[in-house]
Amino acid sequence: MWRLSVVIKEIGANLIAERWRAVVIAVITAAATTSVVATELDQVRRAVAADAELKSAGRYVYVAWTEGADTPVNPTRCLALRHNQAVLAAGGYTHGGPVSVAKAPGELFGARMMVGDMPALLAPHNPPSPGQVYISQTAAARVGLADGRTVLLGGGLGNARVSVVDMSARVPDPGPWVWIPAAPGEKLDECWVEVVPAADQVAQPAITAWLSQGERTVIVTRFLAEDPLRTDPVTVFAARSTRYAWAASGVIVGVVVWLIIWFRRSEMALYRTVGSSRGQTTLIFVLPYMALMVVGTLGGLLLGIYIHGLGAEPTATSLVAARTSLVAASRQSFLTLSIGILIALGGTLLTLGGSIAGHIRNRL
């Protein structure tokens, strides 16, 4: 049996002598890891961005209403939903009378008296500045109203400061409405509730049950109409064709390393004939290559991140995507490395399998 110092010395000497093979292994590992990381980063970012867009459009928003005018939605119960941990925002409105704007004679608006978190529900990413009335960008542009202006409103409302709200994310066609904050009254025509994604599966029956107290029969529907052509980004991500790329890359790296070692099997036989055990011979051949695979993986991970980037704009969505991507890419790199090492190690042990007599006989 060889001493450990001799084994270590041989590993170093072999690594120097076999430097071009070492470079090939490091480069192949890095290239495989880079392709896995860059692909994964791209897929994760696309999924997170698509999910954020859907969320912004109201994926987790529910609208509650009733068919009978004599049994409206209870505003107290609607607003009480805001205290539920699974609820991000809740609010509602009732229809008011027609409203005219002195600056735009001939234009008639409908009043919507709103309570609770309606401004945030209408414009989740662009909370409107505090105002006395709210109007959509589309309607404001048509009548020439600017944000912050005080205008004279008809319908007994008098002068009011206007807040122009970008409702495009959730209300593509907002209509001629003037949204007016009001104290909770006796009824609501609609109650809007946005829940956290984790509560989405149970939200509809839970909201229905909460609001359907007593004689009321409340109908709760999703804010976004069901669209058979719309694909769920999370489902698309889970079913991505590249989800096993780490395994394929690991197999490629492992087989390449194994082949390189296999072509050196006569050297293995030589080590065995001069007293090196099977384990020591495996160490001499595999350990430096394993170290190179680790270096290649780390290099490939960094290169993949550098090539793909982690998001140019420091928005909440891009930061979430970056964090998710980093975790996913690191996990896949580790899996690629593990598969590669397992195959290289298993292949080497297989190559070295059998007795020393078999190795020598093969050389005779």
Binding site: A17, S266, V274, A357, I360, N362, R363, L364
Partner: protein
């Protein structure tokens, strides 16, 4: 170290006996050639002597432990990207020789085989004849009890064969017992004694 092959019978599974040797004695320090046509059992006899195969009857008496045997392979078996000198020193590392002693022994082996000018060359860049001489030098360097060489000139032309035979002379004068399987008369003539395998029986000629 002398060894004696006594009442040895060996057959591969399901086949008739390849070797039937009553007695074959090799004295310490002798270089012995085993000759015979292809398939006569030369390599098999080397493997039996080296302990790689086990006979059905009889055996080898006085053979050294496996670690004391050095092999000269028919197929080039070297560390191709390491230097000639590295290849020689490889056999000495496990014996805990200090560097100066190992360097001296390697230098002597290189001179004896005419390889001293090639010490720093990568072994993979050597010709077929040079590789066989390197293997002979490697067998020489550790002063093993027994050297087993299998067709050391089997794949060489005449010129290279003569050079290898000249290197074998270094083995001939060493303290090691050397057994060479060959069908080359030049190699056989370089040995102290010669046995020919005829129908599995070793006959001294």
């Amino acid at each position: 170290m002398s060894l004696t092959i006594r009442e040895l019978v060996f057959a591969y599974p399901g086949q008739p006996a390849v070797l039937t040797i009553e007695e074959l004695r090799v004295e310490a320090g002798q270089m012995v050639a085993i000759t015979g046509p292809s398939g006569s059992g030369k390599t098999t006899l080397l493997q039996l002597i080296g302990g790689l195969l086990h006979p059905q009857q009889g055996g080898v008496e006085g053979g050294p432990p496996f670690e004391s045997i050095r092999w000269v392979f028919q197929t080039p078996t070297i560390l191709g990207r390491r230097t000639v000198l590295d290849n020689l020193l490889l056999g000495l590392h496990q014996r805990r020789w200090d560097q100066s002693r190992a360097d001296l022994a390697a230098g002597q082996a290189l001179v004896a085989t005419g390889m001293d000018q090639l010490a720093d060359r990568p072994a993979g860049s050597l010709s077929g004849g040079e590789i066989q001489r390197l293997q002979i030098a490697r067998a020489l360097v550790g002063r093993p009890s027994l050297v087993l060489a299998d067709e050391p000139t089997g794949q060489l032309d005449r010129t290279n064969t003569e050079r290898v035979v000249a290197s074998l002379a270094a083995l001939r004068t060493s303290d090691s017992t050397v057994i060479v399987a060959t069908h080359d008369p030049l190699v056989a003539d370089a040995c102290h004694r010669r046995f020919e395998l005829r129908n599995g029986v070793a006959v001294e000629v």
